[in-house]
Symmetry: C2
Subunit: 458 residues, 2 copies
């Protein structure tokens, strides 16, 4: 009997394995698909890979400024796709090598919990095997959902997973349904690699997610326009038909579009059909857990997209650590979602932590804010990355930092500085007097705190 069976080897499952192994547990992992899960193989990691490529394509225009004169070049997405595969295989291999070195059995197949201590694995060849564990961690993730009559067929109507797994050549034109994070990321990428992109969004702005302020949405929408990415707000798909390899789409606005493919990015649902023993789920299919990430069975824990918390790889990884801790040390650590960073890689890099002004208002918190554009940051100017800004949100009374949005170079890294500052309840003055390396992008925080910490210039 293993100490711990981990169902699903995505970012949550892998982090759980790392923690459990370091704590000396004997573990087994069950995975029906590729090691690394959706995150490594079809989402977080490959989208950043393509984003870096897309960003280089934009950069080709300014390389002359650094004395690098490119006389001729071609863009070939299929090479980027191969590069992405190479990178992912390297990372997958590093996972399997680690398991080999630590002698961790990896069961390839569909796992089902058939008893509180038993997992039945159905392998690819149909054979079954049962393994036993004192504890089980469910980390089986999620899958894309479809919408209305737009049923993914892998050819004309694609999920984001089809996009990553199979789309080795980009179509000439692409209609993306859903202007959320995935839609805006893949829309930007496809557009830079040469596809004519249309994004249809039911709400009144792109990135209509709570952590993205209207200020950030508007900034990005302007940039999308500059880049020739078309978007249609407060719009849905009324109907579509396929003829001669083209999709004819009529929008709710009665506009007609002809595109080669449709990409659905309208959300995901939990892979929670993993047991026959009645583990409790909520009405949306998420596995119910308490604040220790324990399910309705006391030796079974769950983490990641399969539970009802933000569907983010880093949340899964954090939850995995907490769950394994609680397995070992008996429910002594409560899960805390109060400070989760977000980042989006689209026309520009976006980072967010804490509250937006809108969210603070809803909570009845009076705020003051600080602002600084990358345009006057020496390092950003050195990088030819003048676009973007930081907006810092402080509680008015205490001048404590409570939130930040960053649009621009390295936003997804810089955001952690403010995350640490919020965690440690730092004030505008403390952030202002903090010594940032010069020249660094991080100095935006020195300047964005000036108004609140010292006084206004104008």
């Amino acid at each position: 009997m293993f100490d711990l069976i981990i169902l699903g080897l995505g970012p949550g499952g892998f982090e759980a394995a790392l923690t459990a192994l370091r704590k000396g547990l004997s573990i087994a992992v069950v995975e029906r698909d590729k090691l690394g899960g959706n995150c490594l193989n079809r989402a977080c990691v490959p989208t950043k890979y393509f984003w870096i490529g897309a960003h280089y394509i934009e950069k080709l225009n300014i390389l002359d400024e650094y004395g690098v004169h490119i006389t001729d070049y071609q863009i070939d997405y299929s090479k980027a796709w191969e590069g992405k595969e190479k990178n992912i295989s390297f990372l997958r291999k590093s996972i399997s090598q680690l398991f080999k070195a630590k002698k961790v059995p990896v069961y390839k197949g569909e796992g089902k919990i058939i008893d509180k201590n038993k997992v039945e694995i159905t392998k690819e060849d149909g054979t079954k095997e049962i393994i036993e564990g004192k504890y089980i961690l469910i980390a089986t993730g999620s899958k894309p959902i479809a919408i209305g009559n737009l049923v993914p067929d892998g050819k004309y109507i694609l999920t984001t997973e089809d996009y990553m797994d199979n789309l080795k050549e980009l179509p000439e034109s692409l209609l993306i349904v859903g202007g959320g994070v995935a839609g805006c990321e893949l829309g930007y990428i496809s557009s830079r690699y040469g596809t004519k992109v249309h994004i249809v969004e039911i709400k009144d702005r792109l990135l209509p997610v709570p952590f993205i302020s209207m200020e950030v949405s508007k900034f990005l929408m302007r940039k999308f326009k500059q880049l020739g990415i078309k978007y249609y707000l407060e719009t849905t798909i009324k109907d579509f038909s396929i003829k001669d390899n083209k999709i004819n789409v009529s929008l709710s606005t009665d506009e007609i579009l002809e595109v080669d493919k449709i990409l659905l990015s309208v959300g995901r649902k939990p892979n929670s059909d993993i047991d026959t023993i009645g583990i409790e789920k909520d009405e949306r299919g998420f596995i119910k857990t308490n604040e220790f990430l324990q399910t309705s069975m006391d030796n079974i824990y769950a983490c990641g997209d399969v539970v009802n918390s933000p569907m983010l790889a880093h949340v899964a990884m954090y939850e995995a650590k907490v769950a394994v801790h609680n397995i070992i040390s008996g429910n002594s650590k409560k899960v805390d979602y109060s400070l989760i960073p977000s980042a989006i890689f689209t026309a520009l890099e976006v980072g967010h932590i804490g509250l937006t002004e809108e969210q603070a208002k809803e909570k009845g918190i009076e705020t003051v804010t600080g602002y600084f554009p990358f345009m006057y940051n020496d390092k950003a100017v050195d990088e030819h990355e003048k676009e973007g800004f930081v907006r810092l949100i402080f509680e008015k009374e205490t001048k404590k930092i409570i939130g930040a949005s960053i649009v621009g170079s390295s936003a997804s890294e810089l955001i952690h500085i403010i995350q640490l500052a919020i965690k440690n309840q730092m004030t505008a003055e403390e952030l202002h007097e903090f010594i940032y390396f010069h020249p660094s992008l991080s100095e935006i925080f020195s300047y964005a705190t000036y108004d609140v910490a010292v006084g206004k210039l104008f």
Copy 2:
């Protein structure tokens, strides 16, 4: 009479101006050279500009992996030099526009303090003008020093300032005297733009500065070898002669080198010859200040390279804020040098904060450390930036973080995360459970804390 006269408009002077203006002081600034000082015009900012260019030259090899196939290109350093000038002028202009908008008089000329409230300015045409101020801030910076018989002539023997101001074409070969920060930065840049580089260093390693651990030095020396940058340790220049436009150099090892130019990067001395009223200086010429940055004259303060503190732009900027605060609020803020980040842009980016293992040992602090290579960081793999590592230093007893060295992608930004963690006395466990965005480079801290926070894997 002005509230404050600022002598020298480098990073310290400019930061002082920003703070003073926000506090409503009437100010005048005096600058004999270009606005922005050495930092903006000849050091921090342009070296990063060239480093970005040099890094792009290295990146050309991997663009194919992103589907960007470059069929032909040329490297032309003179275009990079022009790009650098354009960038710097943009930033200089933003300074002068701000002064214009705030109606701050900028006196162009050599300033001399001739009375505790009077500065005499000698303008370029030889005319003199005297202005009066309640307070004076000396922020006049430093200049390069020569060594032995190597006297800069602007043609064969160059200072780092000659390099930045006048070297529009790089020589075929360059001998750099001094393997410290500036030598290693300009050595890398020149080498990537096509120059054969030799670095002569008197000590037994490159970057022989206290905040660079032996581990980091060795890592970089290996990389220099790979890049074909030659260095000669425990070596000095014995003699040299110039003939037919070539410099014949004999080293202390009796090796003979023939190079086109010699670049001196052996240190700097303060520009402290700025008064006739006996402001106290130390034996090395630094202006003496108390812990409030007040000189021996009670209405005269000093900051930056001209005082005896680390010669870094961000230290000058920090001191400027403290000095202006003390001018306004009567010596109520002591200067605190306990947490100053360092970064170096050479064959790889290097960041450091707090103590190295060596330094902790000297202080009698028992340590444990954590390590993680960029090679297994998903974002670094996405970036094709697998080289480098982070080394975290913890106090053994408390597991509190006390230092970090980072070699690799974005080291100069990431270092601030650990700087904040040290400031807030965070432990390995707190840094480990902190939620880092996935995938981000910042996640190296989640993995480098595993050994100390959770337990070892092997």
